[in-house]
Amino acid sequence: MKKFIHDFEVTHNHHITDDYFAIYLKCPVSLPQILPGQFAEVLVSNSTTTYLRRPFSIYDVDYKRNELSLLIKKVGDGTVALSKLKEGDTLNLIYPLGNSFSLPGGKKALLIGGGVGIAPMLLLSKLLHEKGYKPDILVGGRTSNDIVEPEKYKPFGEVFITTDDGSAGEKGMVTQHSLFSGKVKEYSAIYACGPDPMMKAVARVAAEHNIPCEISLENTMACGIGACLCCVVETIDGNKTTCIEGPVFDTRKLKL
């Protein structure tokens, strides 16, 4: 897929909670097709602590308005700087980067997002719904504050929630949700994005039930375009770049 570099215009910076925000960006030309799981490399500013671009999954795409959005958690200088952008500001993006999720073999699929890892699941749930699949979306977080915009997924599938402290949905980790003791066998694919321990647990459960599983990795990146080889992950076929050959990988191929 061809990659682009453009100055986008901020149309809205939506502060969801103290920690999470969604930034809506208008493309100066007609948006190219963007696949679920793809990401953008964002140029933060010329500050010395944010020299390299920051990678973020593409959260939503609105082709009619020619807009895309990013769902971001504040963790450091770069993300805090982005949270301060105002309507009318510009943001330079290299996009769309990386591969995408593959379609499930049967009707039902389970999409799991941990914290801000939920971001790529919005486009995926939309696509699956459009194509006639029946996605369930399982959102996990430490507390109810980490369950970000769960209502966005409702039009596309059934939404389930877990929190570590039980402040929303079922208490426990995503893999402890009752879905895994009940209807898990109905799923023909599991997709997950979130913290490493969560993805490892999901991969293990998927393997136990013999369900194909794809996860989206968030390896640290320098270039995002396959030029530096900093972002590699070990697979059974050798090192693969997370930015070009990923970020989505079949868990059976990874050395988890």
């Binding site: 570099i5 010395t48 020299y51 671009r53 030029a227 972002c231 992950v233 070990e234 090192n239």
Partner: protein, 303 residues
């Protein structure tokens, strides 16, 4: 009419702007963003005699105005380069220079000898300065006898333009430059990355899997500039300057310090179009200063 061309030994570059090894893939990674043919040359990522997996992840740590890397020469080996990569890049209308590395002198010779057969590879750059491999690599570049020995050995099997890339992790870089000049290097490139380290205080752990790694980006520019200046005074062969170059002004500074050409590395990650912007900026500088021939700028530092 402004003349932007420069000569690096037998290579006539259409302009002094090249991409640095390990930061530009094989050029194709940048086709969506720029016309690679406009560059004076491209330096490929390192090529070794055998397949190398490189170091374990994490291989990158961002640092103030720069980054550390410990990629560790990941590549599929010279035979794979010749059979699979070369056919995809030989159409470029620019100099393609392969960065050659290995752990033994025999390894360097094997790669150089094989590359000597490829028409469109007009030169090699001996990487005797990689800080990210256990044996070989930087060890060759930090002592005069070893730097001289590997240069001499490769010279015997390679007859096109041979650039030797120097390590800044030495007490006297001019001495090493002289040693490789004496053994037949046609040019030197200055500098490779500086050995550095990053720590995650929260976790009390090093960030890189290798603990230490190579520092690059704007943070290293003043050191690189100083070394280019020292080396260009010490030797007669052309010096290629690099280290932290991010815009045309940086590039001009390196030319004034004595570089005949420049390479752009880490800045490509921040802006994949930066090489072209630097090229256009050099042209603009020349026009503004009434410079007819970019060669007038080489070593033209006034004091």
């Amino acid at each position: 009419m402004l003349d932007l061309s420069v000569n690096v030994h037998k290579l006539l570059l259409k302009n002094p702007v090249m991409s640095a090894s390990g930061t530009f893939g094989y050029g194709i990674e940048f086709d969506d963003f720029i016309d690679v043919n406009r560059l004076g040359g491209i330096l490929t990522k390192a090529c070794t005699s055998k397949n190398r997996d490189g170091n374990r992840y994490p291989r990158m740590a961002e640092t103030p105005a720069g980054m550390l890397n410990s990629v560790g020469l990941q590549n599929k080996g010279v035979d794979y380069f010749i059979n699979t990569i070369y056919p995809k890049i030989k159409h470029y209308d620019t100099h393609i220079i392969v960065n050659v590395s290995d752990s033994t002198v025999e390894g360097y010779m094997e790669v150089a000898e094989k590359l000597n057969q490829l028409d469109k590879i007009t030169g090699i750059e001996l990487n005797i300065s990689c800080p990210n491999v256990k044996e070989g690599g930087m060890a060759f570049g930090t002592s005069c006898p070893m730097a001289g020995a590997v240069t001499k050995a490769v010279r015997e099997v390679y007859d096109k333009t041979m650039i030797v890339k120097l390590s800044p992790n030495v007490t006297n870089i001019a001495e090493i430059a002289k040693a490789v000049e004496d053994e037949g290097a046609d040019s030197v490139s200055v500098i490779n990355t500086l050995l550095g380290m990053a720590i995650d205080a929260e976790k009390r752990r090093p960030i890189l899997s290798t603990i230490t790694g190579g520092l690059s980006g704007p943070a290293v520019k003043p050191i690189a500039l100083r070394m280019v200046w020292q080396v260009s005074k010490a030797i007669k062969i052309p010096v290629i300057g690099l280290g932290g170059i991010s815009n045309a002004t940086d590039a001009i500074e390196f030319l004034l310090a004595g570089a005949t050409a420049i390479q752009v590395g880490t800045a490509n990650f921040v802006d994949p179009q930066v090489c072209i912007k630097i090229l256009d900026g050099i042209e603009e500088y020349c026009n503004r200063h009434g410079v007819q021939d970019v060669k007038e700028l080489i070593g033209a530092l006034e004091s």
